[in-house]
Amino acid sequence: MKRGILVLLALVLAISAFAGGSQEKSTSKKPVKVIYCADTMSPAVENLFKRFTADTGYPVDMEVLPGGNDYNTLVPARFISSDVPDLCFFWGSQNEQSMLNPAENILDLTDWLAKNVKDKLIPESLLRAMAYAGRNYHLPVSGIVVRGFFYNKDVLQKAGVALPKSWDDFLKNVAPKIKAAGFTPVYGMGLDRWGMDFHMENYVADQFATTDIQDRLNKGQANLYDTQFLESLQMIKKLQDAGYFQDNVMTGTYDGAVAAISDGTTFMTGLSSPVGGRIPAAAQDKVSAFCLSKEGNRAYIALPQGMFVPKKAKNMDGARAYLDWFIKPENIAKYYGELKVSPPYQGVKVDMNLTSAGFKSFVDAEPAMDIRLKAFYGQAGNYAAQVLSGEKTPEEALAEMNATYIQNAKAQGLPVKEK
């Protein structure tokens, strides 16, 4: 009996030793630490990283940070701490990239991209547009981001109106009919505020796309008083005074916006293309998207959001493994197939959701605007919210916006036009 127990024990120990050894082998790769934004997290992103782990053996330690303005604050702050991720999702426009100080903090991917993706997967022109100070620092992981307005097709039909052709057309013709039909013309994100960005930045799309205002701003030959931002704030006030926002607009949130546009009570709300995947399945065929600039329907696009690799990444091998893995055509196709947005990669056919398809029609119709300012004026929606709440007049809000822009430009050593 005793001998039998001893033999059994020896067998168990032997099996454990082998099992332990094989476990050691499978978990020998260090986890890759990833930071992502809550607003852009989706099942497609989660599945992407699961496939990465399954194919490469690199476990992923995902940290999802709050979205909106918080994300823009938290990520740069992490870069000056020792808790730096291996991969960081961030926005792709010039002034947004400037917040990361790429030359100091981010791995330069220019040569890697030139060798692995240029012309094969990403057009040269897009890579040039994505560059910051002539160098490329991120790999696109979103679609071409269009920032505009989601709208409910049923509301449009029941109110018997067509999509507005300009902001004046919306104010004078479209909104009154929508309101008369018993619907809310606009859902404003008075509390979350970032959705109000699009009201302002879409408004100035014509000026920013067709004049040299952005170059003049970057050279210090103009300031925000020379832009149409003041008119955009005045338009918001006109909409508010006419009662075209929802009741309690100052409690408006991102979740509220998605719900309002999906449940058929509201005509439109400011959102961007990545949010298309967050529209509930039941409303996917009812919610489309359009663009609305001062004098037309010019699209406002932001360069693709992407993955940046911090220079101080502790698991550089894992980060590089992700980049190499992601650009395989089968992985890009699978990912964008789930994301259902217009991909920045060539040769990838995607069955887009209605909002992405809606935006694409406007992007294709005429040259879109993208913001190429080197300095940041803060979250435009903050100023819009101050006008919405009655705290500031449009003129006072613009004064603050301009002061923030000048402060940021001076901090970067850029020339400014003070008055």
Binding site: A77, M99, E104, N248, T251, A385, E400, A411
Partner: protein, 296 residues
């Protein structure tokens, strides 16, 4: 001959050795960051510069031009005064009611103290839901008044600052209550008995006997609530992010925004200004309140 050794210097210094680990930790995690903040406030440290240079008072000159400085100062003062007054008032009244050690009182003390133990972020998320126009609070008021009520608790530039302050009061009143209970328990019962014999009423007892005798506890609670609320950040961020408009923006949310813009030296200057403001309020208040302490 010394009790511990033949070295008088060792005798004098050896109590310090026991406190040394705490002193080291306090210095590393509190004093050092404050001193560094003092230093960085006079530099041009931003995310855009490779090197950090002294710019002396340039950040403070810039600060004086900050369009939102007076607004955040006003909001911070409104918030902290509201919190200090009501946290202490409710804490004191609850302490009076629950001072006696009974099973029921012990239960209520625990229930009232419980919110302090939970993260403010968690309470903020809960209150965001409760205070929504379609939330539980409006539903309850609608039921009581038999009509539809949709008060924008978090959407008014006139009163949302007070709503946010009251959420803070709700969380921390239990802490104030416990300090007041401890203070009340230090009052000798003979003094209360003497006051009863002299026919002093309830209000008179509180005003002329209890409050003077628990002044150290009141001073402690008032200073803690004032200093803590002037540094408030999490309840504002979770509930309103400084909105609606900027009507609930406080000092620390402005500092947070400047950090996010990469202006670290400027944010340090704002932080230094906040420290000086707190000191300017707290020290005179402490000095004045300390003079009212009654020794038996």
């Amino acid at each position: 001959m010394s009790r511990y050794s033949q070295n008088p210097l060792f005798d004098r210094l050896h109590p310090l050795f026991y406190a040394l680990p705490a002193i080291i930790l306090y210095s590393l995690f509190f004093l050092l960051p404050i001193l560094l903040n003092f230093g960085f406030a006079f530099t041009n440290w931003t995310v855009f510069h490779k090197t950090i240079q002294f710019v002396w008072i340039d950040n403070f000159k810039e600060l004086l031009k900050e369009l939102r400085l007076l607004l955040v100062l006003k909001n911070t003062l409104i918030f902290s005064i509201t919190v200090s007054v009501f946290q202490n008032l409710f804490g004191f009244l609850l302490a009076l009611a629950l001072q006696e050690r009974t099973k029921l009182n012990n239960f209520f003390r625990a229930v009232i103290f419980f919110p302090c133990l939970v993260s403010m972020v968690a309470w903020g998320q809960l209150f965001t839901s409760i205070l929504d126009p379609k939330g539980v609070l409006n539903a309850a008021i609608s039921a009581i008044l038999s009509g539809s009520v949709a008060v924008p608790w978090l959407g008014s530039r006139l009163f949302t600052i007070f709503v946010v302050a009251f959420v803070n009061v709700w969380v921390w009143t239990g802490f104030a209550m416990m300090i007041y209970i401890t203070s009340l328990n230090t009052i000798p019962t003979e003094i209360i008995d003497a006051a009863n014999i002299d026919g002093v009423g309830w209000l008179g007892k509180i005003r002329h006997v209890i409050i003077p005798l628990i002044m150290p506890g009141i001073t402690l609670n008032v200073i803690i609530s004032l200093v803590g609320s002037m540094k408030e950040f999490d309840v504002v961020m979770v509930l309103t992010k400084g909105g609606p408009g900027r009507s609930t923006e406080v000092f620390n949310t402005l500092i947070y925004e400047k950090i996010g813009a990469g202006l670290f030296g400027y944010a340090a200057a704002l932080n230094l200004l906040l420290i000086l403001l707190i000191a300017a309020l707290a020290f005179p208040l402490y000095s004045r309140m300390s003079k009212r302490v009654v020794d038996l």
